[in-house]
Amino acid sequence: MQTEKIFDTLTKKFGNDVTPILEAAPSEPFILVKADKIYDVCLFLRDNSELDFDYMMCLTGVHQKPDLGVVYHLYSIKHKHKIVLKTFVSIDAPNVPTVERIWRSADWHEREAWDMYGINFEGHHNLIRILCPYDWEGFPLRKDYVTPEEYHGMRVPY
């Protein structure tokens, strides 16, 4: 299915909660979703037989000042089409519903986004750090992150 058509289906279903943004090539077009609706949109995308997005390629946390965002790259193996969803939340209350129950692959991706950006995925069954040590402080990939001087008695900077 064409990207425009997928966007049409979504806007028909969700109305104002989604905003398609068709950028000129080479950038991929994406659709902006309100953070609290992301679970419903994803469930619809997966379960609708015409869309059938059964493969989550990538879930990325981003920090585009001043907001934190989550980017979902979805793919349909059956129909061979893809879509990009984006949602932005304020850095003070970065709460996004989890999509872990829709695609199991989201589990570790969301843990990584939490680890790196501190995006709180509401409803995730085990939202703990995945790459950094469990007692690490701060969220390394935020633009305002300052490298700590010391960790467990080891000097960190060169």
């Binding site: 080479p26 991929e28 390629m57 990325t60 585009q64 790259h73 199991r104 990939l141």
Partner: protein, 383 residues
């Protein structure tokens, strides 16, 4: 009947304790520094909790501070067994965002290099998988052949392991004059060793007993977990980006997508994942042969580029089929010569997430084999 019942009741009263065993980070067969927290009931695995991050090298943070060409060496160090394949999706993504086309000769060289590197990667994967099963000798046979492949890659790029060879808009350097003949020679050796290992290891009765019907991964579970590459194809699902969305010039070659068939056990077991890698080596050999036949002898290997590579405010998820599977780079440009965000869709990371699911109920020796059959590289898992 009554007697049997009392026995069972008596037996159930026996107090057994589950043991929590820490496998790794220093363990001979976690393929690096993965740590698995395993709960054991006797020898049976009841729960696996992977803990990673022991090799978290802050790749994404580095890339935000580097210019686009400077990122390539860091990308090499993600999946350090198949560096050429790592560079490709990144370079391709940057080229797409800049809107440049690379010369045809470059595409051919890239294909040959990537396929050679794919073979080297699968050789290590099969070799270490045999090592996990206790067979030491095939490991050395494969490493002997791998040296020949590395010699070719080294002659072209200067590095044995980490190449920094695919540059934005072309290649770091042209290939050497005897390149074609050397490739053809090495293919012969690869095929001979593959035949030997097939006899020595793959169809060995003990090896089949160990790997067949172990770690069964159904295709729908694999897709839901986002698996790709030999892990997904071992379950019988023919998703190969080279065929599904032909990038570069892969539509010009005739090759098969190897899938597991459940030949000696259930579809999607460890043996199937392993045989897919064996089959892919052969397919890669075929692609290399065709590419060498079609490749133009002379031509530029570097497109004219601006002095500073800048990418406008745009973004792309650029994917290519690495030996581990579907490797993607999510590149966000912001108008400067440094990326705003560079995220790696790490294949090993995603393939590994299926491990707790498929290793429950098997023995601890099987757990090691299942981990080996997934073929992870910790550099890519932890980034």
């Amino acid at each position: 009947m009554a007697e049997k019942k009392t026995f069972e009741m008596e037996y159930s009263k026996v107090d057994t304790e589950r043991m929590r065993l820490n496998v790794g980070p220093q363990h001979p067969s976690t393929h690096g520094v993965l740590r698995l927290e395993v709960e054991l009931d006797g020898e049976i695995v009841t729960e696996v909790v992977p803990h990673m991050g022991y090799l978290h090298r802050c790749f994404e943070k580095h890339c935000e501070a580097m210019t686009y060409p400077q990122c390539i060496p860091y990308i090499d160090r993600l999946d350090y067994i198949s560096s050429m394949n790592n560079e490709w999706p990144y370079v391709m993504g940057v080229e797409k965002l800049m809107g440049i086309e690379v010369p045809e000769r470059v595409e051919y060289i890239r294909v040959i290099m990537a396929e050679l590197n794919r073979i080297a990667n699968h050789q290590i994967a099969v070799a270490t998988f045999g090592l996990d099963a206790g067979a030491f000798t095939p490991f050395l046979y494969y490493f002997r052949d791998r040296e020949e492949i590395l010699a070719i890659l080294e002659k072209a790029s200067g590095g044995r392991l980490l190449y920094n060879y695919f540059w934005v808009g072309g290649l770091a350097a042209d290939v050497h004059p005897t390149f074609k003949q050397e490739c053809l020679d090495v293919i012969k050796h690869i095929r001979a060793t593959n035949a030997e290992v097939t006899n020595l290891l793959i169809y060995n009765k003990i090896f089949i007993d160990r790997t067949a019907n172990v770690g069964i991964l159904p295709a729908d579970v694999a897709i839901n977990f986002g698996c790709s590459g030999p892990v997904l194809r071992g379950s019988g699902f023919p998703l190969d980006l080279r065929r599904a969305e032909p990038y570069s010039i892969y539509d010009r070659f005739d090759f098969n997508v190897v899938v597991g068939k459940g030949e000696v056990g259930t579809l999607g077991d460890c043996w199937d994942r392993n045989i897919v890698r064996m089959g892919e080596m052969e397919e890669s050999c075929k692609i290399i042969e065709q590419a060498i036949a079609q490749m133009p002898d002379t031509g530029d290997v570097q497109e004219k580029l601006p002095k500073k590579i800048r990418i406008p405010k745009s973004e792309i998820l650029s994917r290519a089929e690495s030996p581990k599977g579907d490797l993607g780079f999510y590149i966000v440009g912001n108008g400067t010569d440094k990326p705003e965000r560079l995220r790696c869709r790490a294949t090993s990371f995603i393939n590994l997430s299926v491990l707790p699911e498929i290793s429950k109920g098997y023995m601890i020796a099987d757990l090691i084999l299942i981990l080996g059959s997934i073929d992870i590289v910790l550099g890519e898992v932890d980034r």
